[in-house]
Structures are given as structure tokens and as C-alpha cells.
């Protein structure tokens, strides 16, 4: 592991510091998702507003970590594996920050939905959120322990999310067809489902970067033309 090879040096401390920053940022965005979904389910607008407000802290930490990474690039001129560690850290940082934005999106929708009666109890959405949070955790564990097998697990969890998103979409479509008064609310819930799906895509992005960091191979692109079949 990058920082272990410099354990006793100041440089090693700087690398560890970045790793710890990302773990902390990961915990913040996980909490943001959890709170946004809780705000949605419990129709708790105060909690939703807190998620929106707290995103400022996530943004600040994002900038701080990126600046630290760039400083290391400038002053330490890392090579090989350390360089891959830093470029990976910059990318992971970006993914986590955007996951925070998705949590804000969900919290905003929770506020809108709290103003109208619920269509039905939420079942799939909290499940999706749970899986997505697990994916963030796993992708960061993969980063910390340099485990590509965990990164692979994240990829397979992404399918679960895609299927759930599809299921939510279809179910809500039937509600919309049955009762036009439910269309607006159903649309908002679809957007929440989509935000969770995008969070899962970001977790996959993190996992792909871990594979790059460990193996040196850029794996983020699926085979050409796979969508055409």
C-alpha cells in the first residue's frame, strides 16, 4: 500500500492523510444518503433541510482533499504506484462529492413529496439506498485494502440497483396510468430512484479506479457496442 511503503516519513503521513480524508468523506456521504432516505420515508422536512445544508461541509472537504493531492503532485513528484494512488484519490474524491449532490437531490425531492399525501409506502427505494450505501463502503474498502475482488463485488451489486430502478419505474408507471393525480408524485419518486442509480454508478466508478490503482489498467469502459444488441 502506497503509504505503508513510506511509513515513517512525512511523505507517508501525507499519503495516509489523504486516505483518511477519503474514508471520512465516504462516511459523510453515506450518512447523507441515509438521512435523505429517512427524511423521505418519515416525511421529515427538517432532516431533509439538514442534508441540504450539510452538503457544504462535503464540498469543503472535497476541495481540501483535491488541493492536498495536487500539492503532493507538485512537491513530491510521485512516480509509479504512488502516482496511481494520487490520481485515483483525485477521482474517488470527485465521485464522493457527486454522491453528496445526489443525496441533496433526494432530500429536495423529499421536501416536495412531504407536501402531498403519499402514494404508497416506500419499499424498494430504501432497499436501493441500502445496497448503494453498501457499494460505497465496499468500493472504499477495496481502495483502502487494495482489493480488486471487492471492486468486482461492487460491479455485481450495480446490477441489483439497475434491476430495482427498472422495477420502481414500471410500478410507478402503473400508478400513473391508473390515476393522473398521482403522476407528479410518481415522477418525483422516479427521480429519486434515478439518483440512487447514479450513486451506484459512482460507486462503480470508484471500484474501477481501485482496479486501475492496483493493476495499472483502465477498466472503466465496457466492450464497444454492447448496447446495440
Amino acid at each position: 500500500m502506497a503509504e505503508k511503503r513510506h511509513t515513517s516519513t512525512h511523505y507517508g503521513k501525507e499519503l495516509r492523510n489523504i486516505k483518511e480524508g477519503l474514508i471520512y468523506l465516504g462516511a459523510m456521504v453515506e450518512k447523507a444518503i441515509e438521512c435523505a432516505i429517512r427524511a423521505l420515508v418519515n416525511r421529515d422536512t427538517e432532516l431533509a433541510r439538514k442534508v441540504i445544508c450539510d452538503d457544504g461541509e462535503i464540498d469543503q472537504l472535497d476541495v481540501k482533499i483535491e488541493e492536498k493531492c495536487i500539492r503532493i503532485l507538485a512537491l513530491r513528484q510521485p512516480a509509479a504506484r504512488d502516482l496511481r494512488f494520487i490520481t485515483t484519490a483525485i477521482k474517488i474524491n470527485g465521485h464522493l462529492e457527486r454522491i453528496g449532490d445526489m443525496a441533496v437531490n433526494i432530500a429536495e425531492k423529499a421536501i416536495i413529496l412531504s407536501e402531498e399525501p403519499p402514494i404508497k409506502p416506500y419499499i424498494d427505494i430504501p432497499r436501493m439506498a441500502e445496497v448503494a450505501r453498501g457499494m460505497i463502503k465496499e468500493s472504499l474498502d477495496a481502495f483502502v485494502h487494495e482489493k480488486t475482488s471487492l471492486a468486482q463485488k461492487v460491479r455485481s451489486d450495480d446490477e441489483i440497483i439497475d434491476n430495482l430502478n427498472e422495477q420502481v419505474f414500471r410500478e410507478l408507471l402503473t400508478y400513473m396510468m391508473e390515476d393522473p393525480r398521482k403522476i407528479h408524485r410518481a415522477l418525483i419518486i422516479m427521480q429519486i430512484s434515478k439518483s440512487l442509480e447514479r450513486i451506484s454508478d459512482h460507486a462503480v466508478g470508484i471500484a474501477d479506479m481501485v482496479v486501475y490503482m492496483v493493476t495499472g489498467k483502465i477498466v472503466r469502459h465496457a466492450p464497444v457496442c454492447k448496447n446495440v444488441e
Copy 2:
């Protein structure tokens, strides 16, 4: 400009090469958007399939540019402005690649919509695409000429897109309310509109990176809690 300060050196050539690569990639994704929208409007599934297929080239160029950037970081150990140029190039590259993905999303939706009769002629969607393409062009011009004023223009164009997206959403909502048989098609068009809005966000992301490259300041985050009011 970074590469001008090394005009006659091999290093200068490498930096120029990255800039040219990004301009080329920008042209590719602009074309992908243009074709995806043309495929939608003309119900041309063959063209839509071509957009999906050609995304493989965009992905390949994305990987190639990123590898070149990392190689420069490793071998040239750039400092100060050159370092900002490279980190900016890596981020812009990522934004352009994701814009390509959005064009694929639109092309996929164009194929789905071609199987059903049109709801109404497209007016706002091609306008949004036109503005979004202009934003990509402007943000890359800002990058090439290091012009923060152009970057500012991109930010204000983003508002036009947000308003058009809102307008599309509201209009389609009325179609959905009037006739449940139009719900599914209207949803797909909403997703296309959302993809264009995300393209515009990526253009803003590019513009923000240009401001960082020129001034050294990270400007991507709006003031804290702005969404709460």
C-alpha cells in the same frame, strides 16, 4: 499558455498533443449529440445505432488522453501552471467522456421512441441541444485560450438549459395528465431533456476547471445552503 512556454521542446509538443486531443474529443462528443438529436427528430434508428456504436471511439480516446496525462505527471513532474494544466486536462477529459455517454442515452431513447407515434413535434429539445453544444464549444475555447470570461458565459447559458428543462417537464406533464397512453413516451422525452441538462452541467464543470487552471482557485461549489431558501 502552458504549451507555448515550451514551444520548441519535446515537452511542449506533449502538452500541445493533449490540448489537441481534447479539442478532437470535444468535436466528437458535439457530433454525437447532434446525431443523437437528429436521430430522435427524424426517427432515424440507424443513425441512433451509429451514435451508440461510435461511443467506443470516444471511450478509447478518453483512455488514451488520460494515459498521456499520467505519463507526463510521471516523467515530466510538472509544477505550478503546467501541473494545473494537466490536472485540468484530466478532469475535462472525464467530463467529455461522460457527455458522450449522455449522447448514447439520448440515442437509446430515440430508438425506443421511434417504435411509437410521436406525441408532438420537437421544439425545445433541439433548442436545448443547440445551447448545450454551444456550451461545450465555449468551455473548450475557454480552455484553449485560457479565457475565464468565456467560462462565465457558460455558467449563464446553464440557466437557459435549466429553464428549458423545467419548461419541457411542465409541458409533458400536461400531456401525461390528458392522456395516460402518452405517459410512457412523455417519460422518455423527459429523460432526454434531463440528459441534455446533465450535458450542460458537464460543460459548466469544464468551465470551472478552466477558471481553476488560470487562477488557481477551485470554484466548482456554489455557496453553502443556497438550496434551502
